[in-house]
């Protein structure tokens, strides 16, 4: 299936939402149906799944919003 850039972008965002389990029921159905006919999106979805797996596998750590704020105020205190 051919679709324009904007349409693809919309579908790609649904695909991304699926990675976070945040797509609505309707979006999921719409996307799954679309995947049956569209190689571009199928390819994108497969890559997206691999990226999610890779990120999980990396076991990355980052600071939470609260921890960032704490650290910022700690540093601000020490700078002044």
């Amino acid at each position: 299936m051919n679709h324009d850039k904007e349409n693809f972008h919309q579908l790609a965002c649904i695909c991304d939402k699926c990675q976070y389990d945040e797509a609505s029921f309707l979006e999921k159905v719409q996307f799954k149906l679309h995947l049956m006919f569209c190689e571009t999106c199928k390819d994108y979805a497969a890559k997206n799944n691999r990226l999610t797996t890779l990120i999980k596998q990396a076991n990355i750590s980052c600071l939470s919003l609260e921890e960032q704020k704490e650290l910022k105020s700690y540093l601000k205190d020490k700078i002044t």
């Binding site: 790609a12 991304d16 076991n59 980052c62 650290l71 540093l75 601000k76």
Partner: protein, 186 residues
């Protein structure tokens, strides 16, 4: 010889380096509170030593060097506290600039160690890719993807709409996939 190529900006350290340093520390100590303490100590030591910063290496490299010292000190303290000074030097690390870490010898779980090496290498690669992205967007991505924040919380914090958020997530994922494709996603 190029001198003073780099400058330091302490007021941007948290934004620019704290996640990277925290991830690095977590890879070595695997304890959130200890890792956070190590970052605070690193920033404090860096502030005290900032006049010695020659600008020949990047701010990141300089901060990582200080953090590595802090991690070593931490393990030294643990080992001396336990009355066991048995330490070994572990050369298996993500970067190749002679990175090393003293580690207690009574942990010969090689499978785990090997897994950790790959994971460290991968997380380093992911962070290297994220460094090329707009820091605000990278942080939003990390909060959503790594810290599993609710969309609503991030939107409130950054004053964006959910559709803005998904556009950002899409951009970062696309950039990340592109950056990782050769080595990790092929």
């Amino acid at each position: 010889m190029a001198k003073n190529l780099y400058t330091i900006t302490p007021d941007r350290w948290v934004e620019t380096h704290s996640d990277y340093l925290f991830n690095f520390a977590m890879g070595k100590v695997n304890d959130r509170d200890i890792a956070k303490d190590l970052i605070s100590e690193t920033f404090l030591a860096a502030l005290k030593a900032k006049d010695n910063f020659k600008g020949e290496a990047s701010e990141r490299t300089w901060l990582v060097a200080i953090l590595k010292r802090k991690i070593i000190d931490y393990y030294r303290k643990i080992n001396s506290n336990k009355g066991k000074a048995e330490v070994k030097v572990n050369y298996f690390s993500a970067d190749n600039d002679g990175d090393w870490l003293e580690e207690r010898i009574e942990n010969p779980d090689y499978v785990t160690i090997e897994d950790n090496i790959i994971n460290n290498e991968l997380s380093e690669a992911i962070y290297a890719c994220l460094d090329k992205i707009n820091p605000r967007q990278a942080t939003i991505f990390k909060l959503k993807t790594i810290e599993n924040y609710d969309t609503e919380v991030i939107c409130n914090e950054y004053n964006i709409t959910p559709s803005n958020l998904w556009v950002i997530i899409h951009r970062v994922r696309a950039a990340l996939a592109d950056c990782l494709k050769e080595k990790w996603l092929s």
